[in-house]
Symmetry: C2
């Protein structure tokens, strides 16, 4: 691998959101050079942004790639043709486009997981309202419909009982979005959601973190409990097995998050994949010997992976969402720091808008419930 | 306090070494804006450097200060007249020049500590060889001589038995370096060295970390054991008392490191002061809930201070010094990461020169001796 001045490896991140932002601290500690291609001035990772430009513009991306040794991502939105051309030009891209496609297109993801024998909900790719209604009728009169591409944080997801409820999607979906097909899935009767983080480097080494429980509100991750409280130990073993199976099966490089449902009847079904550091892994900044951000950098640089053991028996992460602020932010900020000296605050330096993730708080300690109460209180003080 | 875009506080650091570099990660997490006035392109904190210029040039410093809300330091070398003019112009400077002078001039430091009643070695400020020889003769025929200014890592320190051994210093010392005086101190019969870190914010809140043991080789910090192994509990209490006494007595703002000797007859005597994050506090990045770098930023921004409890029973930091490298650095780096997955590596991105601090390694865990063996081995793999 070619390297920059002093022999440091140069990592280029496409996308300037909080995930790129949180890759900067471990890059500094590891002595890696990190550059960010941000969408706009003032993005969350602006501090590290060396370039501002549109990731959908091929020439912008190619020029950025020439300044680094490996390209990785803050998000999954860079078009496949650009990624494949980068590889043609000899650029190291991680995750590789062959893997990343499964995080870009939910129908491809379902096809792949089915082929790997990974347990997933019943699903179908439907081309029109008739096909969709047939699936709904066969699954108790209600189902989850998702656009194949572009959804996040509950966007691009609807629970419906009549196909007409997504007529707008059939009408407006671009042909390139999986031929205009929608993904439909059975409504899973789950008791909780789990997330399994795995890191894999190009030469094949993988490391898993303890599986975590994620708590969503309005389709957005609200809290993460690490490790997931043990209800049935077999479930945790199964989650780790699935995580490693998906990592190997997709040949992902970097961090993979596998979001799962734990069902009332004791099964674990895969819900979503992300091929980058993920909200469910933010706890690892303080809660793991090696954070998901450090591990992602090690993995995409094909450096040996770090220990993923917990640093404490329990870690709880609570997201901070933007909302109507009472009083000036610096005053609220100081009050929150004063009231919660053991809470680790992460501000994304974003303008607060209602519902927007603007930061998170992590607390670690001996007892999960105590830690959770402290983390929720600290996050509320910042909200 | 005036603030930047999004209400973020803007902190300006003068000096681009590894201390400035390691302030960047907590600034990112806290959502503070950090700028660095570096001495040169390619300095350790170059990633965050917004300006490159000479800190001895008043106009360079004044222009830099106008871009931030508070000025702080990577080193103690900015001349007092520049610091005082900054305050005259209404710039928040922390630590303030009235405090920082005690870290800039060892004779002023000894005078102040004596006035505060802090236990220190016998000392004198001497103007010529006759005065110096008189002190040596009165203290068993050997003594430690230090230049009042500009010393670090064993430089500017000599153990002598005859005043002629520092004739060169008397000849060449600038008149502005404490009127050409040298500091002479008794040789202390110490059993080990301790360091007490304290943070203090302008509004007066202070926090202390557990006192640590520092192990020097050739006048350079080699290892730090946190917390210091308990030999006599009274010693640890005394170290904390002295740390707080010095912090209050000097009205320091930011992080203060008080380096101390533990003597064979059970006393604790102050050796040196530093008014910035210090090598003896690097363990706190992983070993404390709030690292010295985060705490320094909170303190100089006059934000509430964080919890300084240990995150594990033991943390050991080992410095990595540059030396003759065997094999290309990226290859050695990968081998070291592979062999030590639980070691936390900190690279300063400096060109290695023999004896130069180019990084450090920290390991945390349950048992100090086990952790120490692991940290020493990991640092050796990088050296």
């Amino acid at each position: 691998m070619a390297t920059g001045e002093h022999g440091s490896i140069r990592i280029g991140v496409i996308g300037g959101g909080q995930l790129a932002r949180m890759m900067v601290p471990p890059a500094i500690h590891l002595g890696l050079r990190i550059s960010v291609l941000a969408e706009a001035e003032g993005s969350s990772a602006a501090r590290a942004a060396d370039a501002v430009g549109d990731y959908r513009d091929p020439e912008t991306v190619y020029a950025f790639a020439e300044t680094v040794d490996v390209v990785t991502f803050d998000h999954e939105h860079v078009p496949q043709p650009i990624l494949r051309e980068l590889e043609q030009r000899g650029v190291a891209v991680h995750p590789r486009p062959d893997a990343l496609q499964y995080a870009q297109d939910k129908i491809l993801m379902r096809e792949k997981l089915a082929a790997l024998g990974v347990p997933i909900p019943d699903w179908a790719a439907v081309a029109d309202e008739t096909e969709l209604q047939r699936f709904i009728d066969a699954h108790g009169g209600r189902a989850v419909v998702k656009t194949a591409r572009g959804g996040y944080d509950g966007k691009g997801v609807r629970v419906i009982s009549d196909a007409v409820e997504v007529r707008d999607w059939f009408t407006t979906l671009a042909e390139d979005a999986h031929g205009g097909h929608l993904l439909v899935e059975e409504l899973v009767d789950f008791t909780r959601e789990l997330s399994q983080l795995v890191a894999r480097r190009p030469s094949g080494e993988t490391r898993t973190w303890p599986v975590v429980e994620t708590i969503q509100r309005d389709g957005v991750c609200a809290e993460v409990l690490a490790p997931a409280p043990v209800q049935d130990p077999a479930t945790l073993v199964e989650a780790a097995r699935i995580g490693e199976l998906v990592a190997e099966g997709t040949q992902v490089t970097g961090v993979l998050a596998v979001e799962m449902f734990e069902t009332r009847d004791g099964r674990v079904l895969v819900n979503e994949l992300a091929m980058r550091p993920h909200n469910s892994g933010h706890f690892s900044i303080e809660g793991s010997v090696t954070s998901q951000f450090e591990q992602h950098l090690r993995a995409v640089a094909d450096l040996p992976l770090g220990d993923t053991a917990m640093t404490a028996p329990a870690a709880v992460m609570v997201n901070v969402l933007g909302g109507p602020a009472e009083g000036p932010m610096p005053v609220r900020y100081a009050a929150a720091l004063a009231a919660h000296p053991a809470a680790k605050i992460h501000s994304y330096d974003k303008l607060p808008r209602p519902g927007r993730k603007v930061g998170h708080v992590t607390v670690t300690g001996e007892d999960l419930e105590t830690v959770r109460v402290a983390a929720v209180a600290a996050a509320a003080a910042f909200a």
